[in-house]
Amino acid sequence: MSILLENHIIELLQERNDKAISLLYEHYGDTLYGVAFKVVRDEDLAQDVVQESFVKIWKKSDSYDPTKAKLFTWLFRITRNTAIDKLRSASNKSDKEIQMDVSDVYKLGTEGVIPDLIDVQDNLEKIDSKYQIVLDALFFQGMTQQEASEELDIPLGTIKSRLKIGLRELKKIYGSTMVFAYLLNFIIN
C-alpha cells in the first residue's frame, strides 16, 4: 500500500468518515479475509470474523496510533485476535480441541484465491516448508515462539532462526514484485 493512500485512509478514520471503511475493505479486505480463514478454517466463520473486525476497526479508529504501528499491523492484530476469539468460542460450543494441522498450510489450494495472487501462491510453495510452518504457527495459530517450539518439536533457537530466514526469503521473492504490484495498483485506481 502506498504511503499516500495509507495516510489518506488514516485521516479519514480520524475524521470518522465511513469512506475509510470502504477504502480499507477494497485494499485489505481480501488479505484480512485470508487471515481470518487461516485461523478459523471455515468460510462462514471467517466472514463473521471479517464483519466483526471491520466494526471493531470503525469503533476503535480513534485508538489507532500511526507512530506505534503501520496501518496493516493494526488491522492484522484486530482481525487475528477476533478470529482467535471466534475460534475459541466456536470450539467451546462444539467442545472440540483446536489442533494445529501442518498440512493446512497447503490445503488452502487455489479455489477462492484471487487470480492475481495465484503466482504468489505458487511462489509461497517455493519457500521451504520448514520456514512456512514456523511463520504459519506464529502468525496465524496464535502461538508464541515457545509454544511453536513445543508444538512442532523444534528447538526454540531453530524457531527463531527459521522465522528470521523465512521472513528474509519472503522479502527476496516478493520484495520487488509486491512493491511493483502496489505501484501498478495505485496507478490503475
Binding site: D18, D30, G34, V35, V113, L117, L138, G142, Q145
Partner: protein, 259 residues
C-alpha cells in the same frame, strides 16, 4: 566508550533473541512488556528497523494468503456500521428528548407545587371565614331566641321611654325580664339630627358605663337592641358626633331608662 557500545549491542542482541518484538507485532504482549518493547523501539534504531521489517514481512506474508471476499460482505459491513452510527444518533435524540421531558416535568412539578401551596392557603382562609360565619350565625340565633323569650315571657316588664327637651319626639320601649336576666330596647322614633351627629346608646351597670353603640336610623326601628342586664341599671341615649364616642357626653343626654 567502546565498552559501553559493546554492552549496548549485547543488550539489543539479547532483546532481539526473545520473542517480545514478535509478540508485540501480533499485539499479544502484556502492558509491562508493551512498555519495554516501545522503549527499545524508541531508543535503538536497530530494534526500530527490525520492527519495521517485521511489519513489512507480516504484510507480505498475510497478502500471500489473501482470498477473494464473498459478494455482499462489503455491503453487510457498511450496513452494520451505518446502523451503529444511526443508533448512536438515535441515542442522542433520545437523550435530548429525555432531558427535555425531565425539564418539563421539573417545571410542571414546581408549577403544581406552587398551585397546591396557594390552594392550601386559600383553604385556610375559607375555613376561617366559615368558622366566623358559624360563630356569627350562632350569636344571631341566640340573640333572636333571647328576643323571643323576652317578648313572650309574662314576667317581662315593658318600659316606655320618651325623650327629654332636646329630643321630644324620641320614643322607645324597653323590655326587661328579671327572671331570665335579659333586657332589650326598641327605639321606634328618633328626631332628625344634623349630618355630623348621631344617637348613641349607653348603659350604666353596677357602676360601670358601657358603650352599646350607635343607634341606627329609624329604618330598622323594629330591631331590638340588647341591653346588658343588671340590678338598678340605667340606660342612656346621647347625641354624639357621627361615628360614636368613647364616653357619653353628659350634657347631651336625651333619654334615660332605669330598669
Amino acid at each position: 566508550m567502546l565498552q559501553k557500545n559493546k554492552t549496548m549491542k549485547e543488550k539489543i542482541r539479547i532483546f532481539l533473541e526473545t520473542d517480545l518484538l514478535e509478540k508485540y507485532l501480533l499485539g499479544t504482549t502484556s502492558n509491562e512488556e508493551t512498555l519495554q518493547v516501545e522503549r527499545y523501539i524508541a531508543m535503538y534504531p536497530e530494534v526500530r528497523n527490525t520492527y519495521i521489517e517485521l511489519q513489512e514481512n507480516l504484510e507480505i506474508f498475510a497478502k500471500l494468503h489473501a482470498i477473494k471476499t464473498p459478494e455482499g460482505l462489503k455491503e453487510k459491513i457498511q450496513n452494520k456500521i451505518k446502523k451503529g452510527n444511526s443508533s448512536r444518533s438515535k441515542f442522542f435524540k433520545y437523550a435530548i428528548a429525555a432531558s427535555f421531558t425531565a425539564l418539563l416535568f421539573a417545571g410542571a412539578s414546581y408549577f403544581f407545587w406552587n398551585q397546591n401551596q396557594n390552594l392550601q392557603e386559600e383553604n385556610v382562609i375559607v375555613n376561617n371565614k366559615i368558622q366566623n360565619l358559624e360563630e356569627n350565625m350562632r350569636l344571631q340565633l341566640e340573640d333572636v331566641r333571647n328576643q323571643f323569650i323576652v317578648l313572650n315571657n309574662p314576667k317581662t316588664k315593658r318600659l316606655a321611654v320618651k325623650g327629654n327637651n332636646k329630643a321630644k319626639e324620641l320614643k322607645a320601649v324597653a323590655y326587661v325580664n328579671p327572671v331570665k336576666k335579659l333586657s332589650y330596647i326598641n327605639v321606634s322614633k328618633l328626631p332628625n339630627l344634623p349630618e355630623n351627629q348621631c344617637y348613641q346608646m349607653w348603659a350604666e351597670v353596677n357602676g360601670q358605663m358601657l358603650n352599646l353603640g350607635v343607634i341606627q336610623e329609624a329604618s330598622n326601628s323594629e330591631k331590638l337592641m340588647a341591653l346588658p342586664y343588671g340590678e338598678n341599671a340605667v340606660g342612656y341615649i346621647t347625641i354624639e358626633p357621627t361615628g360614636g364616642n368613647s364616653s357619653p357626653t353628659v350634657e347631651n343626654i336625651v333619654a334615660n331608662i332605669s330598669y
